[in-house]
Symmetry: none
Subunit: 415 residues, 2 copies
């Protein structure tokens, strides 16, 4: 049987109360679409046996294949396994292999299982337990005359790992010929409306690819989607479409798909044998966090100063007199920070950020959102200013991205 | 008729593809719960007339009241109004008042409506158009013998404004005297299953409050929800329930609702006239970012060192010989980092983090996830080790939270 349509059922009263965003559904939607499996409906119900039973029952009748998340953990509100086992007529049995795996997992993290953990080793008879090395509750693949129910844990990491390592490979053995696939061009430093003016007349020419604009604090992504095309054609069509978009976006395009501007900057530094250090005031460590979020950053990134207070700025030779004369948020202080951390760390490349993230601290002359940046590249120090909108968090995220953009541009013109 | 149960239906192929998070559902869930209206199911379908018709039909049969979002705009994929009008037997009629409002809106934003905009003035006969001053498509309130369908635009701002200004007031006129309200106890440092054992026997006693366990990298939250209780009783019941949970969770409970452990630590420092500095290796600035995410952190937080490389560690007096002898991830290096940044910054309180966030760099003796922490409180330096699971990002987030926990505990025992 080839599976080309599924329904998703996410279980948890939290989802109905709106305290939790349903990121599990979104992840599964993206993952399944990429395999050519269309999600035709998404349902969320609370932790109520009746509601779960009704929702699974209806989905099996409509579509015959449902993937659930949530309700497999050891606590009392986790009840969906019992309900589904009963609905499918597959009574729960204690499974020694699964129990051994649960015990091994607890040993690895140095904990002792409690009595309630034994429920995690109960598997509906005739079902397949999907090994979960990222947590204790296994996933379940349950085929019955009514249809197939795949049950995944609700913890996002475990759900994602089981989907990738256990569900997708099983779906591929029953694969379909057409796929839904997307590709993204990432831009930064150009407003959405300006980008749209550059790109607008291309939209018809891109058909049957559809184009979406996705603005965020990292810039504006352009996403192309190919709907139900032959697997062999999708990549060629998308590659061609991305090339045409890249021509239009020009110098503002920095990469494709999920690439992180921080990773691009690190790679450029690596290729040119330079090291990086940072000096952060209003971002308080967010730039360092972003850079070190890239695995393997340590060969290029030395570290830096979180120079939040004036006292901490003095440690990288930013004198109280300079701050007194120009204010902590000024080109002079930004340049002194970049130069100071370059001297202290020995890094060939540094970047400094000092600004007003709000909500307080703004003035007529320097409103909330004002941020000064300085880079030091091989001893040459330059600075520039931006004024960002948004919340405190958004202003800080935009400042981090702008600092990376300044590094990327600066490095592009150097050998 | 008093309305106490509704279903939500969000319409849009983007939702099924997973490119868009369903924040509309989450907003409506929170808003309706606060009014005592329970969302009993949430469904998403694509922009297909058949799928929309089936989903509305089923929701009316099950629950008799459904609120939809999406499918009211002028573009081609907006078809839900036609489908619902047909399903309810309320044929569409051109409405002059609505058309005037659409025209006025276009004049205000300086645009000219096109022919397809006329469809926005079509209202199902017998239905009420909900004026939308934040966009052009009005909402619809459609009562029929089958039940009630409320249709809202998919654009989040318009949806929220119509919900607040048009839907909630109408629900209140048919109000139930009861509300749904939640309160949360935040814990950190205790595994979910251990917490569950401590709390399990309380669950019955807490009724009619329901209890949910919400694990994340910040710990495990315990959320109590009062369902359909009198508005005057909810706060008392929840306050009492949280107190009982707090007794069980003991030293592991650090706060309530949305409070951030970083804000609690900052407040304690403020009260005791101490300042804070940090030294971060594997977290690369994430702890500083977290602390400075709290508005007003600057009166307590001085800054710190991102001591990612050995060279950067030397800047806070962590000698290459010490690293050579014990490894960068060791109690000795963590303690030297905490002491070094205390001397350099003059802060009374410091915390240092050094660990292996992965995916590479682990060994038999020090697997990925191994993190050493050291605190320096008024000159007294202490260290401890944890081994975390998860991705690189999750390990780093857990390490940040554990560092804050170490500070919180350390400060609790000091005047």
């Amino acid at each position: 049987m080839s599976i080309d349509r599924v329904e998703l059922l996410t279980i948890g009263t939290e989802l109905l109360l709106g305290f939790t965003l349903d990121s599990n559904s979104a992840f599964l939607g993206r993952t399944l679409s990429a395999e050519g499996v269309a999600v035709v409906r998404r349902t969320s119900v609370g932790d109520s046996p009746d509601a779960i039973r009704a929702a699974v029952d209806e989905a099996l009748t409509r579509t015959g294949f449902v993937i659930t998340t949530g309700g497999l953990g050891p606590t009392r509100d986790d009840i969906s396994k019992n309900v589904v086992a009963e609905l499918l007529g597959m009574p729960l049995q204690f499974n020694d292999t699964v129990w051994e795996a649960v015990l091994a997992r607890y040993r690895r993290v140095g904990r002792t299982p409690v009595e309630s953990n034994r429920s995690q080793a109960m598997v509906p008879s005739g079902g397949i337990a999907l090994p979960n090395q990222w947590g204790t509750a296994p996933g379940l693949w349950l085929e019955s005359p009514r249809g197939t129910v795949v049950m995944l844990p609700g913890v996002p990491l475990e759900m994602r790992m089981l989907a990738e390592h256990e569900v997708v490979p099983r779906l591929r053995t029953q694969a379909v010929a057409s796929v839904i696939r997307s590709a993204t061009l990432r831009t930064c430093g150009i407003p959405e409306s300006t980008l749209a003016e550059r790109v607008a007349d291309l939209e018809d020419a891109l058909a049957p690819l559809s184009l979406a604009y996705l603005p965020s604090t990292e810039g504006v992504d352009l996403r192309l989607t190919a709907w139900n095309v032959a697997a062999g054609d999708a990549d060629t069509m998308l590659g061609d479409g991305i090339r045409r978009l890249r021509d239009r976006a020009g110098e503002w395009a920095y990469g494709e798909d999920n690439v992180d501007l921080a990773a691009i900057v690190l790679q450029r530094l690596r290729e040119s044998n330079r090291t990086l250090a940072v000096a952060e005031s209003c971002t308080g460590g967010m730039l360092g966090a972003r850079v070190t979020g890239v695995p393997g950053a340590s060969d290029v990134f030395l570290g830096g100063m979180i120079a939040y207070s004036n006292r901490a700025k003095a440690a990288i030779d930013v004198s109280p007199e300079l701050i007194q004369a120009h204010g902590a948020v000024s080109s002079e202080v930004a340049e002194a920070m970049a130069a100071g951390v370059a001297r202290g760390s020995g890094a060939e490349v540094t970047v400094a950020i000092t600004g007003i993230a709000g909500p307080g601290g703004g003035s007529e002359e320097k409103p909330v959102g004002t941020v000064w940046f300085a880079t030091s590249l091989d001893g040459i120090v330059e600075s520039h200013k931006s004024v960002f909108g948004g919340t405190r968090h958004e202003i800080r995220e935009r400042a981090v991205q702008a600092a990376l953009l300044a590094l990327w541009r600066g490095l592009r013109t150097r050998r």
